[in-house]
């Protein structure tokens, strides 16, 4: 069950990555965001779009030591990261 921020992120991902293929009605917050098992069908090239979209929408940078690899594991890890770093 997604929380409000995770729902918001789902919409942001669809818009930023211009996802046009149908996605499941219920997406687990722990489903992988990037890779072959991604319900959004996102790959590593999409990852940079997600990073920039997060920066623009939430003014939160994903870079350096806390790398995007970990932050972009799932909707939950991304939402947690945004909550911790939001100004």
């Amino acid at each position: 069950m997604q929380d409000n921020l995770e729902k918001e992120l789902t919409e942001m991902l669809i818009e930023a990555c211009r996802v046009t293929d149908p996605i499941p009605a219920e997406i687990s917050p722990d489903a992988p965001l990037i890779g072959p098992d991604s319900p959004f069908d996102l790959d590593s090239l999409d990852a940079v779009e997600v990073v920039v979209a997060v920066q623009r929408k939430y003014n939160v940078r994903i870079e350096s030591s806390e790398s995007s690899r970990q932050v972009l594991q799932s909707l939950r890890t991304l939402a947690d990261y945004i909550r911790r770093h939001r100004e």
């Binding site: 590593s44 940079v48 350096s64 030591s65």
Partner: protein
């Protein structure tokens, strides 16, 4: 035989290993400081050198240079070995571990089983620290992972003796001695000047901001010269080199900006903070390029995301970096 080793995750393996090894020996250092002291930032576009049949674009100096420069500039003594014999290489590693000394290794990523299969690729200059051994299992601080990992001896041998470009040949290194007193300031200045020289002063068309402009010029011609499919492969490769290969994003610009922030404190000069902020902004511009390029690669490019538009963003980055590195060089003279 397992020593206490403070593992810290980093964006980039070599600067992470350098910072972690030095910190273990009492010289606490961030990844950004290691990257900056090692003069790691660069741009080079070498279309005649191929990586998986795609032209080499690099945003950092050659593997090994960061560790070499950081230790050299701070007067730190290092012991290095390379081996042709696998048994001797592992015996020497075990001998160091038995003494409680963590050891840096150059390895081939493809043979490290703790990497998820999707992330394994043939890159033979991956750095990690081995800090312990229990039975036939090694304890490893691999800086691109959040936690320490383990690796069976047989797998580590394969990784240390991987074949192909940049073959590690069992290379290992450890810190032998750190001076009791180190003045970071002269080393920082020297390293900054080196980066500035490569970025804007070396009159070689494939390096620094000249190289960025050269690549922009080539990129405009890719669709006509190579065909759309190959042009997209080239573009995707550049974006991956910029954003994925442990760069911390923006082709290492964000890490270098963090280094300049620390340099401002060490040098007691707030003007470096301004340059740092400008470089972060340029890193964002590189990310604009990556986002527009990714859309193009995905076949969903909108208006303003053609190859010509992408080239314009690169030229904008080159113009801004030309000004920035001239200003930064001038700062080191004052």
């Amino acid at each position: 035989m397992t020593s206490n080793f403070n593992h810290r995750q980093s964006a980039h393996c070599e600067s992470g290993v350098t910072a972690n090894l030095l910190s273990h020996h009492g010289l606490t250092m961030s990844e950004a400081m290691a990257f900056g002291l090692g003069a790691g930032l660069l741009f080079g576009y070498f279309p005649f050198i191929r990586i998986n049949k795609l032209p080499l674009a690099t945003f950092r100096t050659a593997p090994g240079n960061i560790f070499k420069k950081v230790t050299g500039r701070l007067g730190i003594q290092v012991t290095r070995h390379a081996f042709s014999d696998q048994k001797r290489a592992m015996d020497e590693l075990d001998r160091c571990l038995a003494e409680g000394v963590p050891v840096g290794l150059q390895t081939g990523v493809y043979w490290l089983p703790y990497f998820p299969p999707a992330l394994r690729f043939h890159f033979n200059a991956h750095n990690l620290v081995v800090y312990g051994k229990e039975g036939e299992t090694y304890h490893i601080s691999d800086p691109v992972f959040g936690e320490t990992v383990t690796c069976a001896a047989a797998d580590l041998v394969r990784a240390r003796f991987a074949q192909g470009a940049l073959a590690p040949k069992g290379k290992m290194y450890r810190i032998s001695h750190i001076p009791s007193s180190i003045d970071h300031a002269p080393a920082i200045i020297k390293s900054i000047r080196e980066v500035c020289r490569v970025m804007v002063k070396v009159p070689f068309p494939l390096l620094g901001t000249r190289g960025i402009r050269y690549m922009a010029g080539q990129m405009e011609k890719w669709p006509a010269r190579l065909g759309e499919r190959m042009a997209i492969l080239y573009l995707g490769h550049i974006i991956r080199m910029q954003e994925e290969i442990g760069t911390g994003g923006g082709g290492f610009r964000f890490i270098y900006a963090a280094f300049l922030q620390e340099a401002a404190e060490v040098l007691g000069d707030r003007r470096y903070l301004d340059i740092s902020a400008r470089l972060t902004s340029i890193g964002d511009r590189w990310r604009d390029f990556a986002v527009a390029g990714a859309q193009h690669c995905k076949g969903r490019a909108a208006e303003g995301e053609s190859f010509a538009d992408l080239s314009r963003i690169l030229r904008d980055c080159a113009d801004k970096e030309t000004l920035l590195f001239h200003d930064l060089y001038a700062l080191t003279k004052n």
